[in-house]
């Protein structure tokens, strides 16, 4: 009976939803600082996982050392992307900057293909493979890692944006670039920081998801699209929206796959994306543009 599988759907929805949430957060952070959509967000995810795979399996570093190193490596990629093509463009034109991120995405993907080849790779789970059975649902230990680490990232980001001066300055830039520049907030530095931060969050997502799926040079594309759909669903640029949009999208996808057919699993994300764009383009938590005249 399909009803008995509900808890299982819920758990797997929450798991992939967490990943989408992290990717959506990455999209949101860069959007808030710059106003652009970073199409290389999925490649950050892929690079994080691939670097982690190399560090643990080729270099042989233990998990606890390799994890932060891989995250730092992708942060460096984000940093290079900003100080290189994005800043060199010397442009405020959104479309130009977005096209640059598309270019960066293709470059990263192809470079990854040459380094790691075309075969999908995977990581061992962080701690064991014995699933926890909870009622009707079997929960893999890795699922707990994913939920826990996502929660930790969300809490840390919340602290950063609401309690620290730099985080508040980033919010200020998102809200009013001119006003922020005029009180001495270096808008360029905030843009740089947003790319570094998004790189780091993307890498975390890639590293924690790889043990339950796999990762290949091109896997970032689909993940980015899902994360993008989640961001739109939650309201593009809203941090709260990104997290809830991600979880909701994961759940809907999982239930959709369970009740209708898993063949359409990916289609659900895009169906939702289209519906949101038709019905409520601002998303669940997005602000409708209201201008006072």
């Amino acid at each position: 009976m399909i009803w008995s599988q509900l808890p299982q759907f819920f758990v797997s929805g929450l798991t992939s939803g967490s990943i989408y949430a992290l990717i959506a957060l990455g999209f949101g952070i860069i959007h808030n600082a710059t106003g652009i959509v970073n199409f290389a967000q999925g490649e950050f995810v892929m690079l994080g996982a691939m670097t982690m795979i190399s560090l643990t399996q080729v270099v042989g570093l233990p998990l606890l050392v390799a994890f932060p190193l891989a995250v730092l490596a992708v942060m460096a990629v984000g940093w290079l992307m900003e100080i290189g093509p994005i800043r060199r463009a010397r442009s405020n034109n959104i479309l130009i900057l977005v096209m640059i991120t598309v270019g960066a995405s293709i470059t990263m993907r192809e470079t990854a293909m040459h380094i790691w080849g075309k075969t999908p790779r995977t990581l061992p789970p962080f701690s064991g493979e014995e699933p926890l059975v909870l009622g009707n649902a079997a929960i893999l230990p890795q699922t707990l890692w994913i939920l826990g680490i996502t929660l930790l990232v969300v809490i840390l980001l919340g602290f950063f944006f609401n309690r620290t001066m730099v985080g508040k300055a980033m919010r200020a830039v998102a809200e009013n670039r001119r006003g922020a520049a005029l009180i001495g907030i270096g808008v360029y530095r905030m843009t740089l920081l947003s790319f570094v931060l998004s790189g780091g969050i993307g890498a975390v997502a890639g590293i924690i998801v790889t043990p339950i799926t796999t990762m290949s040079y091109s896997a970032g594309v689909m993940l980015a699209l899902k994360g993008f759909a989640a961001a739109i669903l939650g309201g593009y640029g809203s941090m709260k929206g990104a997290v809830l949009g991600g979880l909701l999208l994961g759940a809907m996808e999982s239930f959709g796959a369970g009740f209708v057919s898993s063949a359409y699993k990916d289609a659900f994300a895009f169906l939702i994306l289209l519906l949101v764009l038709f019905i409520r383009p601002a998303g669940l938590f997005g602000k409708e543009e209201i201008k006072r005249v």
Binding site: M165, K168, A169, R171, A172, E175, N176, R178, G179, A180, A181, L182, I183, G184, I185, G186, V187, Y188
Partner: protein, 245 residues
């Protein structure tokens, strides 16, 4: 303190500023008056580093500043309070003020933040009442006060005020001008841009008239108030009055 020399600026193909030259001495309030589209706000944005000049030089004290980014100007102590206020609507009054001190060294931020906020609340008591309210919910006058207060948090040596009385009730506008005088008396130099020549000439030490991107007149308020052109163009007193005299 501030010297602007032969500054020209363009928006696309349109020349907005034509070889503008003027200066502001330490401790002065200097007004820049001019009608809509005379280039007043552009001039301030050029000084603040938001809009690059096509030609000319700008000195702040002895430093050439026309190639610096806006955040560097703030660190030098040159702050603009922009037209339309540009405050952070979704943040509270306190957070807005806190961000005002962003450009100060970290240590000072922590140490001074509270006492400095108190100073600003002393200037604008209404802001203290609204401390936990979101800036977007404030009235126009309160927002203007917050915008000035936020700039003061950076401990400026010179303030560029862009039409601070625009769209405010006369009493509130008066209050803001009084504070401007207070700031000058406490040692802050002020460049006041105004469309409302009457109020600007009341409080300033010297004034310049900007017209179609050029400085066309300069003088003390007394001299300008006596000038027929100024009276006609900015004070709404037309030639008839002269004729019938």
């Amino acid at each position: 303190m501030l010297r602007v020399k032969n500054v020209s600026a363009y928006y696309g193909n349109i020349q907005v500023l034509r070889r503008v030259t003027f200066h502001v001495n330490k401790g002065e309030i200097v007004s820049l008056i001019g009608g809509n589209g005379a280039g007043k706000s552009t001039l301030l944005n050029v000084i603040s580093g938001l809009h690059p000049p096509s030609a000319g030089t700008i000195f702040f004290e002895r430093q050439e500043i026309h190639k610096l980014a806006p955040d560097k100007m703030v660190r030098l102590g040159l702050l603009q309070v922009p037209e339309q206020r540009q405050i952070f609507n979704s943040m509270t009054v306190t957070e807005n003020l806190e961000l005002g001190s962003y450009s100060l060294p970290k240590k000072e931020q922590k140490r001074m933040a509270k006492s400095q906020r108190q100073e600003i609340y002393a200037l604008f008591p209404i802001l203290q009442e609204r401390a936990q309210q979101r800036a977007g919910t404030l009235s126009g006058g309160e927002q203007q006060m917050l915008s000035i207060g936020r700039a003061l948090m950076a401990r400026p040596r010179m303030l560029l005020l862009d039409e601070p009385s625009l769209g405010l009730a006369p009493l509130v506008a008066q209050e803001i001008l009084e504070v401007t005088c207070k700031l000058r008396d406490n040692g802050t130099t002020v460049l006041l841009v105004e469309q409302n020549a009457q109020t600007a000439l009341e409080i300033c030490d010297r004034a310049y008239v900007l017209e179609a991107g050029r400085i066309v007149l300069e003088g003390t308020p007394h001299e300008l108030l006596a000038n027929d052109e100024v009276r006609r163009a900015f004070l709404g007193k037309d030639y008839k009055e002269k004729w019938e005299r």
